[in-house]
Amino acid sequence: VSKLAPQAREYAAPGQGAIPPSKKRYIPTSGTYPLGFSAASAHVGVKPSNTRFDDVALIASEVPCSAAAVFTTNKFQAAPVTVSRNMLNRRRGEGIRAVVVNSGCANAVTGRGGIEDAISMGHETDQCFVNDSNGKDDGQGSRSIVMSTGVIGQRLPIKKITSKLGTVYGNLGETHHHWLSAARAICTTDTFPKLISRTFTLPGSQEEYRIAGMTKGAGMIHPNMA
């Protein structure tokens, strides 16, 4: 790489670079997060060059919840897109417990093996919940949504990932720090984690509700999801 582009820098590991001063104002220092959800991250080293930074995130609900999704309409859909869409269709968007995300490898254009890896990532995430009070298998298969982001055309180091899912599950927490760590772990070439939260009310209800969201993306961005 250095011979081809001596000016090139390494951009691959999440959180690797210092956050540019002009971007710091977009990173929240606190948040109001939805009840019953928790977030976490852990270092796996999906990219071998990433020796320090968290690259797997988990967002989980204490109770089974409704879920909906939109996916890329690119005809070459990555394995986690296919697996997650099929899972949500099978379950009709009900009974979901978690979203598990890795950065560093997109698990895209990886053939049947990639599909098996994505299924395994979801299944092993489910296993983290089997011993909690809402973790009993309902007989409808996986209840974890799987996402991957990073380079295309490489197989996931699935054993490395699944071996750390217990760690990331153990890191789950409800604080701003937990949410921000998860937002940072899904980054690739992003220069800052993207996380916002707010409260809202609905007509005819006394309740106050919360919504939180994290996103990542910096390049290969012209979404056309459905």
């Binding site: 951009y11 009840l35 959800f37 996916f71 982001t149 220069t191 919504i211 390049g219 012209h222």
Partner: protein, 224 residues
């Protein structure tokens, strides 16, 4: 790749949740462009666990659903804008507003055409008020019926909300105040307004960024 994970403790059933997300995406994440490339992995999910209690939203015809949909759309727009703020190598945050189109789809196609134009994006990086490139990208937008060259106007709206700088009015170029154009383009935020025809009133907004040397550096390095 774009990934998004949204969570709420509102009690929303799966079917209305899907409807509200699908609607919200059109005017948020499907209305941004960094480099014009659609990824193999783009995914946005939303989870609703109902932990805050209250009456469940089970249909798409209630006031509660409409209120939730509005909240979700505004929230998704704010999240989507953060992605544009972090566009690879971006130095500018650009709002492209296309008005006076026959349909929303027409306006969106024109806005996307401008947002994807490398020459528009490099002009923005170079702080050049190059309305010719904007007009060119407007003119080749595919499948658009409502572009009428002699009725088309292009303006820059400063980030501070002061009076817009008119570059082209009804197909005729304006005498541009270059020093004011330079002031407007020196700011990080910029809004480009393109008015297509006085006969129509639909509009669309797309958010994008400029193209810089840094974009090439990053993507010349990033390996599959």
């Amino acid at each position: 790749t774009l990934l998004g994970i949204l969570c709420t403790d509102a009690p929303v059933g799966a079917a209305p949740l899907q409807q509200s997300l699908t609607d919200a995406i059109t005017k948020s994440f499907n209305s941004i462009s960094i480099d014009g490339d659609t990824s193999t992995n783009d995914t946005v999910v939303i989870l609703a666990n109902g932990a805050a209690g209250g009456k469940p939203i089970t249909s798409t015809s209630s006031d509660e659903f409409r209120a939730f949909q509005e909240t979700l759309t505004a929230f998704a727009i704010d999240l989507a804008k953060l992605v544009v703020r972090d566009g690879e190598g971006a130095t500018k945050f650009v709002t492209i507003k296309v008005t006076n189109a026959k349909t929303y789809e027409d306006a969106k196609r024109v806005a996307n055409s401008i947002a994807r134009s490398p020459l528009v994006k490099t002009a923005l990086y170079g702080k050049d008020a190059n309305w010719g490139r904007i007009l060119c990208a407007t003119g080749y937008a595919e499948g658009v019926e409502s572009v009428v060259p002699e009725e088309t106007s292009v303006s820059f709206v400063p980030a501070d909300g002061s009076e817009e700088l008119k570059l082209l009015v009804r197909g005729e170029p304006e005498q541009v105040d270059e020093s004011r154009a330079a002031e407007i383009l020196a700011e990080e935020d910029l809004e480009i307004v393109v008015r297509l025809s006085e006969k129509f009133d639909e509009e669309a907004v797309v958010w994008t960024c400029d193209f810089s040397h840094e974009y090439v550096t990053i993507n010349g390095d990033y390996r599959t």
